[in-house]
Symmetry: C2
Subunit: 337 residues, 2 copies
């Protein structure tokens, strides 16, 4: 039985939404034991509004929340018993197997690095993002691919990029049931000579690693197409690219809605167009993809999107449980060789 420490206080939509996600999951066929960490009274109030199975939910009291605009180090040090600190310690002390938070990204990563060890051979942790693509991936035909690092670490070395590649491949194997995920470096041309010195050097190293299915370099075009299963890049670039994808998704939805409102006056046309919009939207809806893993620690850490609704929280907890079940850390160690 996997136990997940869930920071109940993080998330832009407040404690009620996180609790709703936990309640939902508790009534499903294959539940996960959830430790809801945060303000006991607030959690109880929210729980009272939902049907849930109390066998799978336990409240662990904590005091304080890291605000979205806080400086992570100061916040964590100033509030030793805030929800993310308590949740991370539960995992460190073996009372839970994985950490999930929709709160402050920097604080989540910092709390994890205060409490957990890095895996051997991994110099740097990475934040990975699951994003929608045109092509489908893996035996299940998932309409998404993985990109890392999107955590805005500047100046990744060749060794860092290789570490990201290994961790991304391991995560894709586990989450998409994909035995040999294709991975590539993001560059400004497909030739091995293209890119920064770190990319060129990482290309050489990855080409020799038999445990990985390395497809070489890909370009910007290949990101939305989804030419490969895992795209590896430095964090600054990944951050810009990921935010741009979010922006494009918003803009496409806006344009389609606008076009519908202005041009298509017939009821039937509107209905039909709205189906198209829904389909586009569901393809670009990160909520269904279960959050972003923070890779490189000896424990499973999932950062759910700040705007996660109940369904997104539920998905993030499920993904965390799956990563524990299938031994993500062991898989990374094995691929690292």
């Amino acid at each position: 039985m996997v136990r997940v420490a869930l920071d109940a206080m993080g998330g832009d939509l407040g404690v009620a939404e996180v609790v709703a996600g936990a309640a939902k999951l508790s009534r499903e066929e294959r539940p996960v034991r959830i430790l809801l960490v945060g303000d006991e009274a607030a959690i109880n109030t929210s729980l009272a509004e939902h049907r849930y199975d109390p066998r799978w939910i336990q409240i662990v009291p904590a005091k304080g929340i890291v605000a979205m605009d806080a400086k992570p180090r100061a916040a964590l040090d100033g509030m030793p018993n805030c929800s993310i600190n308590v949740a991370a310690r539960l995992v460190r002390d073996g009372e839970a197997d994985a950490l999930v938070s929709a709160g402050h990204t920097g604080a989540t990563i910092l709390a994890a690095s205060d409490c957990f060890e890095r895996l051997p051979g991994i110099r740097r942790t990475a934040l990975a993002a699951v994003y929608p693509t045109e092509q489908r991936h893996g035996p299940r035909g998932d309409p998404f691919a993985l990109m890392l690092d999107v955590g805005a670490t500047l100046n990744a070395t060749a060794e860092d990029l290789v570490g990201f590649a290994v961790m991304g491949a391991a995560y894709a194997q586990i989450i998409s049931d994909n035995d040999a995920p294709q991975l590539a470096l993001l560059s400004n041309g497909s030739e091995p000579s293209k890119g920064t010195p770190a990319i060129v050097e990482a290309h050489k190293i990855l080409s020799k690693m038999d445990a990985l299915s390395f497809a070489g370099n890909v370009e910007g075009l290949d990101i939305p197409r989804g030419t490969v299963d895992v795209i590896v890049c430095e964090g600054f670039l990944g951050n810009v690219v990921l935010k741009m994808l979010e922006g494009v998704s918003e803009v496409v939805t806006d344009i389609a809605r606008d076009a519908a409102a202005r041009k298509f006056l017939w009821k039937m046309g509107l209905t039909m167009l709205s189906q198209g919009i829904r389909q586009l939207r569901s393809m670009t809806d990160w909520k269904q993809y279960g959050g972003a893993p923070v890779l490189g620690f000896d424990r499973v850490v999932i950062k759910a999107h700040g705007r996660s609704n109940a369904r997104a929280i539920r998905n993030a907890v499920k993904v965390a449980a799956k990563a524990v079940d299938r031994d993500l850390a062991g898989q990374i160690r094995e691929l690292r060789g």
Copy 2:
């Protein structure tokens, strides 16, 4: 009367398409004198297929084309009288005022740097791209913004970024009739402390330049939204972002077409949806934006997209003429201060 040297041989669609663009423009109300540079027989054959006004079109013979996969330096040196070399020399020698090519990007920039001088205070030239945005820009309400450098120059210094900002602002002023284009640095956060050391330093310098309307840093989200008129970044990042935008545009069109084919069986619905697709498409259609300027030389250089059709070629020549008319180089000098 502006005279444009147009490389007739570049372009994926062949000489016929370039000639068609020139022929089209020659019959318009405000024509431009076009020097069609390339294989005389081929140009004449294509010209014979179109109505055109011979007063505005002149053929300048050249021998050889730089292939799309050629190494630029070797190709230019090996074929001194190839079309791009001849066209660049026409501009150098004062027989034409601007250079336009839909051919090999690297060869176009290299031919320009063989023949032209860099503007004072500009250490590095930049390739700029006009791309579609949700928000509109300038007094004319243009649905596009400018991004530079997208030319894959690695490791831009703070001074390089400042130069890009100045050139981008000057170009936006001229092309969009926008007296005070808002410009920003692309980074991983809006705070001045965010980004690489070069970005942080460029932020400081730009904040003090009164001739510019500097809006600080923007993030990936702001690219498709079009929060500012000019986005400045290092070439590697710009290259990835631009190619990604092209990819997103393709994917959105594919998805919409696919949804139409699978779901909407009624004729009326199909018709209506196809209007929506057309609108989306026209917003993401680079063909109407008239090519990418290569900025930083003392002459006007416009790189049209390789896949330019006649209309795109015509637009690129018009843009080149406008940049000459309004003295782009003088404008850059003035803003540089």
